[in-house]
Symmetry: C2
Subunit: 334 residues, 2 copies
């Protein structure tokens, strides 16, 4: 079934208010979760609302938590998120990065002690919509084995990069695991196999069977050793620059997914040394080269990062946002 | 066979001088190529010297090219590399990033119109050795198909991140293709298969056969769609921020591998908001969690990025640097 943007947003806002969020915070969270589902990232839109509600009930998220400035040095600021809602903390910090970048050319905000920011791409879409380059990442609790080991010791630490473009921003939003656990679940429920091997089964064999990977927790990092290494350094950078928790420390705190995590928000003026025309030409030449390469599937050219989102957004704006009836009823029952 | 550091360096320096580099540039390039082989990145150490020599002969590298300041805004500087040697240009710019970071907390240098920087990790090892976080990347000519297409349209755009640590820096040095073409060649010459599929053969099947991938050029991006997307945004950022060429534009110039490419060098003070003790604890907790996870191969714990390099460095410092006799004779004949 599909529901309209306004209907979904109203329902989520009601739940957010019931969870104890202020009118202002509930509005921001409802808008963001709904945009996330509308853009096709269903795992972190409506679907995630019941878990967020539980986290507020348990005190793992503090509905009243606000970002608090704890350090400042030129274009760089450090905030403590006070375990407030991940979305409102991250929205505040990405906006601060934008303000710093508008003043200094670059702005860097390091946020510690925050909670799950839901879709990471939200913040780099926001920054790109302000005409700036956005770079943001978070660490998480352990959910992926480091390459060479069999037990989770790394977060999947999503990295998001957005570049403003009149015809549609270029926005990359990638976690460090090849597939998300959400994707494993969806594939299993559909009775399907993964398109490419996604991890190990309990015999230690590489497999495309999502259930076998869910059972072992031995999910592949993106590019095996490479995503593993990138996850390590993103974790270290987020924790060091924010003076916050690294994944190993988050694991010990035990406040759920991303409880007490560390995040970085960077905004950069793309026109420091190049004119709008020069930047547009770089974007056009790159996208045109990608589009014109002979496609794997005839008639379906390769896409730039964010292109698929724009297409899903257009469809869901027109036809309504797809929801699982079970999830929709669950949210309505909260 | 193995040769000593000093013997290799002297031989490379002789070739660099013959290629037309100044005494100072030849010294820097010889030192860097030798360190690269010593650290186990054989493809971009001694092995790359004959190609560099040819590029100088053809005028694709200008032995006298120097970085020229063309833009400045606070902690950010823009240089034109004037097609000078990639190593001396990149060494200069990473050092400038260090100086800017020592003054402002962060330094960003965007370099355009440069040539192959050889091992990317060189510059983030350098920055980390100065006690700063280093982030650097380059774009390249097309050598990898965008995910969803069959023809190369993307560079493999190496990304390097270094974090200073007393017991050994954490340094990630990763290209956006899962395997380098150097790795395909080495595996083919050894008559072996790749440990994990690395691309497509001419029938369009996923394969572990290096020769089949060399034939099609259809090498996998790291993590399929993910490394493809990251390659796109790294290319765009490097070209936009330096007002230089993107991959699609490098392709049209035709001055060999990485001729007229764009690079970014960032240095950040890790102690902006955290003390040395706090940063060390983050590093220790992270590395200890990785080391203590149950290993895939008994007795061989997972490693942090850079750990393998330190181990190879120690071996090669003691036993001499392994070289292919054919390559060594070729360099000596130049």
């Amino acid at each position: 079934m599909r529901v309209s943007f306004e209907e979904m947003k109203a329902e989520i806002k009601r739940v957010m208010l019931k969870a104890g969020l202020s009118e202002e915070k509930a509005e921001i969270c409802a808008q963001t979760h709904t945009e996330t589902s509308r853009d096709g990232v269903y795992s972190h839109g409506l679907n995630r609302v019941p878990r967020f509600f539980r986290y507020c009930e348990r005190g793992w998220v503090n509905p009243d938590g606000e970002p608090e400035l704890i350090g400042q040095a030129g274009l760089m600021e450090n905030y403590d998120g006070n375990l407030g809602p991940g979305i409102t903390n991250a929205k505040f910090c990405s906006q601060r990065a934008v303000e710093l970048a508008k003043k200094h050319g670059i702005g860097v905000v390091a946020l510690r002690n925050t909670t799950h920011w839901m879709r990471g791409g939200t913040y780099t879409w926001d920054i790109a919509n302000e005409g700036l380059i956005g770079i943001a990442w978070t660490n998480t609790e352990s959910c992926m084995p480091a390459w060479g080991s069999k037990e989770p010791s790394l977060g999947n630490n999503p990295l998001c990069i957005g570049i403003p473009r009149d015809e549609g921003n270029v926005v990359l939003d990638m976690a460090m695991s090849l597939y998300s656990f959400g994707k494993l679940q969806v594939t299993r429920l559909a009775g399907e196999q993964l398109p490419y091997p996604g991890g190990y089964d309990k015999e230690g064999n590489v497999t495309t069977d999502p259930a076998a990977i869910e059972e072992t927790g031995r999910i592949f990092p993106t590019g095996y050793w490479k995503g593993s290494g990138l996850a390590v350094v993103l974790d270290l950078l987020a924790a060091i620059l924010s003076n916050g928790n690294c994944t190993a420390q988050i694991d010990k705190i035990g406040k759920g997914s991303c409880g007490s995590c560390s995040q970085i928000f960077i905004a950069i003026n793309p026109y420091m040394f190049a004119s709008k025309e020069e930047v547009d030409k770089i974007l056009d030449d790159t996208i045109s080269q990608i589009h014109s390469a002979s496609p794997m599937t005839p008639g379906r050219p390769a896409r730039y990062p964010g292109e698929g989102t724009l297409s899903t957004r257009a469809t869901n704006d027109e036809e309504g946002i797809p929801v699982s009836e079970e999830v929709w009823n669950k949210v309505r029952s909260l």
